[in-house]
């Protein structure tokens, strides 16, 4: 699916509002769509994404659930199998582990286990990432774990266009799609075409072209990486920034085309380093683009600690622009 070609004027909007617009649009367009999750109704969502939707659409379409991730995710799966198009909101990826059985053992496997008799056209949205001083039980980036699982699609909208456009395309998918919204992006403000609509969900995007090194990232880390690229440009290093957008499946072609050009790559991933999505991307580069490489690959990931509460430690634990700049210079022997 392509971005709508007709562009009207751009409007000032936050990432949060872009997601809300996407929800509003989906609920209006398809009577089978409804939103459910903890506090999505009367409280307006723990990150205020669904604020105002209960008043607009009523409790049939905006459903508050008990504090039981496994229960309401399972209900979402059942509703999807029965013909609805549910959007399940999970407060944070940390809490989604309570629903991991439903997501992995049921949603991701049912088409296979039923011999293609049943699919689960379910969308699960959840917040991810650190930076809000919510400590070690609300701040982790576990989307890389989900990207391990066949049978589901894993998306990481990092821009306003993607926040606005990925949901509808995800709802049209006959299989489960997980959408990870980085908590640091909700307040991000920018301009978005007033008629912005659905976008594709299977291609990575080059967010900044460059010839010297490929910086491959997604989600909240995109903006830190772009900031690093600006800094690097001041030192004469032209970094190409790739936004993965889809973590499963990965768009190998875009990654390899970039690495073939730049011959260097750093992967920036807020997940922990060991067994990370960054490791997967790096391994694919070695498998598919080894003969293009001019230096060892590098990674900027989270430190291998539970995300700390104090702000200075929290900031030190996750990727930052300064770390990306340092890793890039090291890879290019320009330290």
């Amino acid at each position: 699916m392509k971005q709508e070609p007709i562009k009207t004027e751009a409007i000032e909007i936050t990432y949060r509002e872009a997601v809300r617009e996407a929800l509003r649009d989906a609920i209006k367009r398809d009577e089978r769509v409804f939103l459910m999750g903890e506090d999505v109704g009367r409280y307006g969502g723990c990150y205020a994404v669904s604020h105002g939707l209960l008043a607009q659409f009523g409790p049939e379409r905006i459903r508050d659930t008990p504090l039981s991730e496994s229960g309401f995710t399972g209900a979402g799966i059942g509703a999807a199998m029965a013909g609805m198009r549910p959007i399940v909101e999970v407060m944070t990826v940390n809490f989604s582990l309570l629903a991991l059985d439903q997501i992995l053992n049921t949603a991701a496997t049912l088409r296979h286990m039923s011999g293609n008799q049943f699919g689960v056209p379910l969308v699960i949205r959840m917040a991810t990432g650190a930076g809000r001083q919510l400590a070690a039980q609300h701040s982790h980036s576990l989307e890389g774990w989900y990207a391990h699982v066949p049978g589901i699609t894993v998306l990481a909208p990092a821009t306003l266009e993607d926040a606005r456009g990925m949901l509808w395309t995800a709802l049209e998918d006959p299989d489960p799609v997980l959408i990870f919204e980085n908590v640091m992006l909700y307040n991000m403000t920018g301009r978005l075409a007033a008629d912005a609509g659905a976008v594709d969900i299977d291609k990575a995007a080059v967010r900044r072209p460059g010839r010297d090194i490929s910086l491959i990232t997604y989600g909240g880390s995109l903006w830190k990486t772009l900031e690093a690229a600006t800094t690097l440009a001041g030192d004469g290093i032209e970094a190409e920034v790739i936004d993965l957008r889809s973590l499963r499946p990965l768009d190998d072609a875009t990654i390899m085309a970039s690495v073939a050009k730049t011959r260097h790559a750093i992967i920036v991933d807020e997940g922990w380093r060991t067994g990370s999505l960054a490791a997967e991307v790096g391994m694919r580069i070695v498998e598919q683009a080894f003969w293009s490489l001019d230096a060892p690959l590098g990674r900027v990931c989270s430190e291998e600690v539970p995300i700390p509460y104090p702000r200075h430690l929290e900031n030190a634990a996750i990727p930052q622009a300064t770390k990306i700049v340092a890793a890039t210079k090291a890879a290019l022997d320009r330290a």
Partner: protein, 406 residues
């Protein structure tokens, strides 16, 4: 006749050992009767038959270990007579072996570049990046002559590129004081590189050759008129016209423009024409003029002069050596009438331009003197066929009939 088989006594059971037969041939068995004892990883288990009848034949000896599903015995159903052929048709029990692995999906591992005749020789312990190694192979650069600038002296892509430019840089007479900083003369190394590239080309590329005669009187007349208005340093040389014509023809024939690598052809969106430039002392280089299809003729001419001058002065850039997507070789006024080029890998075509000669030519049924050039195409048969090549050459010839549009 029914086969009594080794049952699966658990999801993880792959095989069992028959430790006891409780029946013998000729015995009558009832459904549910225990007929044998099988040893599994979970212990000895009695197994029963679900088929009533008379035991016809025992197929597996005591203490043999057989995979799940192996026929252990044949049971004749009640009233069924033994069929001689049936017994003979029963295959012997399989010897236990690991289950045959299903054919694996081929992992998408990038293949190594094909070997070049100049094997990269490196001192033990020297690190060379994969990209540098591949470039060295492509350009025929001996890695032992490359100085590494990376961490711990590792040889990087840029190091090989620099060395390739040095190798391509010819002799320049310089004042003794300047000699140290002057580009190094290494015609010997250049010869090695030419040898490597050309030998690889002739070994790997199945060339086909086409020849086409093109009347260029219009070009010469147009050039004379145009040059009369230009100062000497701005004048156009004939050689620029076929280069531009080739670049324009590529728009319709993209299969001649690009690189053949890893067993496939990748057309290039940009047209960078390599221009063969001979160097005094016996060298040859074919560096690129960039985006020739976009260049007006006067700008093309200016860049061509600059490139020839720099090449002969040894100031050629490494990227100019690797950028060409097709090559044009022209021997000029002093050359011969026909020239067949050898494709410079990984390119897939080279155009040869012979010198213009005045020939008797038939025009509108009458014979008259006309300037004619012989143009050749050496094409890579893995990518294109003679038919496409013929159309490509004809298109270049056609474009040369209207030089004012080039």
């Amino acid at each position: 006749m029914v086969e009594f088989r080794m049952p699966s006594l658990g999801a993880d059971m792959e095989a069992g050992t028959l430790v006891e037969w409780l029946i013998k041939p000729g015995d009558v068995v009832k459904r549910g009767q225990v007929v044998a004892v099988v040893e599994t990883q979970k212990g000895a288990i009695e197994i029963e038959t679900f088929q009533a009848g008379r035991i016809d034949k025992v197929l597996v000896d005591l203490h043999s270990k057989v995979p799940v599903g192996t026929p252990l015995a044949l049971i004749l159903a009640e009233g069924e007579e033994k069929l001689a052929v049936a017994a003979a048709a029963v295959p012997p029990p399989a010897v236990i072996a690991p289950p045959a692995a299903p054919p694996l999906e081929r992992p998408r591992i990038a293949p190594a570049p094909p070997l070049s005749p100049v094997r990269p020789r490196v001192a033990p312990g020297t690190q060379v990046s994969p990209a540098a190694r591949r470039l060295a192979q492509e350009r025929g650069i001996d890695l032992s002559t490359v100085t590494g600038s990376g961490r711990d002296g590792a040889i990087t892509y840029a190091d090989v590129e620099r060395r390739a430019a040095e190798v391509m840089a010819p002799a320049v007479p310089v004042a003794p004081a300047e000699r140290k900083r002057a580009p190094t003369l290494d015609l010997g190394a250049m010869r090695v590189a030419i040898a490597a590239a050309m030998a690889r080309s002739k070994r790997e590329i199945p060339h086909y050759y086409l020849e086409h005669q093109v009347e260029v009187t219009a070009c010469e007349r147009w050039l004379a008129e145009k040059n009369a208005t230009l100062p000497p340093e701005g004048r156009l040389l004939f050689g620029a016209l076929p280069i531009k014509a080739v670049a324009l023809a590529i728009r319709r024939f993209p299969a001649f423009n690009g690189f053949y690598r890893d067993n496939k052809f990748a057309p290039s969106p940009a047209v960078h024409v390599g221009v063969a430039i001979s160097i005094r002392g016996g060298g040859l280089a074919a560096p690129a003029l960039h985006d020739v299809d976009q260049l007006p003729l006067d700008e093309l001419m200016r860049q061509m002069r600059d490139l020839i001058q720099r090449t002969r002065a040894g100031r050629i850039r490494g990227s100019e050596m690797s950028d060409p997507t097709i090559t044009v070789s022209s021997l000029g006024e002093r050359g011969v009438e026909t020239l067949y080029g050898i494709i410079y890998p990984p390119q897939v075509a080279i155009i040869g331009i012979g010198k213009a000669v005045v020939r008797p030519w038939v025009i509108d049924g009458a014979i008259g003197p006309r300037s004619v050039i012989t143009m050749t195409l050496s094409g890579d048969h893995r990518v294109t066929d003679g038919h496409a090549g013929a159309l490509f050459l004809a298109e270049i010839g056609k474009l040369l009939q209207e030089p004012e549009k080039l």
